[in-house]
Symmetry: C2
Subunit: 336 residues, 2 copies
Amino acid sequence: MLMPSEITAEAPSNIALIKYWGAEDLGAVVPCNPSLSMTLDRCRSVCSASFFEGDRRPDEILLERDGALAPAPESFSRRIAAHLVRLRTAWNRQGTLRIATRNTFPAEAGIASSASGFTALTLAVSRALGIELAPAELSNWSRRSGSGSASRSAFGGYVQWPAPGTADAASAAPVADAEHWPLCDLVAIVSSSSKEVSSLEGHQRAATSPYFRRRLELVPGRLDTVREAIAGRDFARLADAVDEEAIDLHLIMMSSRPPIFYWRPATVAVLAEVRRLRREGLAVCATMDAGPNVHVLCEPQCAADAEAALRRVEGVEEVLADRTGTGPVWRQGAEL
Amino acid sequence: MLMPSEITAEAPSNIALIKYWGAEDLGAVVPCNPSLSMTLDRCRSVCSASFFEGDRRPDEILLERDGALAPAPESFSRRIAAHLVRLRTAWNRQGTLRIATRNTFPAEAGIASSASGFTALTLAVSRALGIELAPAELSNWSRRSGSGSASRSAFGGYVQWPAPGTADAASAAPVADAEHWPLCDLVAIVSSSSKEVSSLEGHQRAATSPYFRRRLELVPGRLDTVREAIAGRDFARLADAVDEEAIDLHLIMMSSRPPIFYWRPATVAVLAEVRRLRREGLAVCATMDAGPNVHVLCEPQCAADAEAALRRVEGVEEVLADRTGTGPVWRQGAEL
């Protein structure tokens, strides 16, 4: 038997400034609108993949929790297993995979770990299978895991996943790198329990909101504003667009049929505190993904004051301080 | 000198099930959409008006607070004074008015007191001036105070203020009386401080929401649903429409430019508790006006359980238990 090919990959999470919400084809992960995100630095997924060529044992999927590796829960394994089948079939390689994965940030803290997780998985597996993917190909394959946001975790800095129907919509592409404009992302954790409604379910319900079509008309202009704000490092301009976009996303959720309510009491308290800090002159703004936690973006010189203020908000369990980060990396060896 | 003509009138507040939000002409109080409300029973305004015919002293405007009458604050007096000028001019009567008013519910508790207040004022003043108004005329004159919702406080039970442009849009009209379907309204007070953005300002900003036009398309169908639910005493049907309408109103506010955020942390907690109670089988639903407090409508047999549950929600300062009520009344004499 050959020695296994062993790779460890790390991929960053990302926070969407313009949100992917609603799919034209959920199976093929074709979104209804373009999206744009900032890659994170500290919130990363680490994935080791070992490929045993020609082996016929079943794949092994392990997840680190509380410092120990254990077989991943059924619901988690199923999506990973489907992606492994997809990759191995596409590249026509027979053999067994051992996958071990962990997140550098609290699990189930309401921060999208599927984007970083599926990008790290795709990168580790491709390298273990001997496939060398260009970043755009990594983006495309990661996206096809079912996590559209994973398309954006293939790059550092600021990343756009174009509108469907455009020639390059299969994968995301960088807009600016991390050094162009380092910002901080203070993630105010107000609930670390699992969401009642999954993002996949939310994407399915999006078009049932009577306001969804109108939202799609608004996104391109807001996306342009965000791009211009990033190009010019204009925080006030970015903040207005990011605040609006985050509220819009949750308006669509709350007006879907049946409605989706992610906000907790402390979500509202954090949003009010961010508005207060802005009125006081701090360069801060707020965005939320499909969950109750609030990502508070700010310029680095405001981060200490903003973090202290957020920690004082009743109901905030924790504040994760992150910042603009670089793209995925990989190295030889199974570290997990 | 003649003896003054003295009248005391009482008028009910009302809670809108379909909301008046956005005006085609704010000065003339012409709304963008039809609205429909339930008249309340215990939340009432009491107004005594004394008319001193031919007298040339300035009008006196008194407000009861903490059990004592005192000159009303400037901002409050100004709107009342303008309405007194309007009424006296229309009916061509010269003389001085002494106005004294109080609410039977906590002042500034976030329950619209302008609807009940202006209807009680209009009724008391008209009678003190010797004018006998039919209910539709009372509705029309009360509305012209600047509080559109006052048009609906001229009647008991369930009351519709028709769409603008229709022949009868100047005044509201009853849809069903209180005995047809007695419901409870448990008002969960989460904040009794004054609103940061007035309803008048909110009406002005409504059309700046990119979703406002779409909302106007949705209202007629939802209004029909509410009317049918009332006609058939179908609480489940009423609840779905009322829940949707309340969320829609706040979506429009939160997407106005600049946005208006009325929700407090406990607003979200109460909304979540109402959804939980509904899932458990209680006939409850929630609506909110332009403020943070939540009106929890329910069938009378659910009221005790719902009230107990609401009192347990963190951040709920008080629960005012009200129910479907009758229209305004008046009597001789100045009681205040």
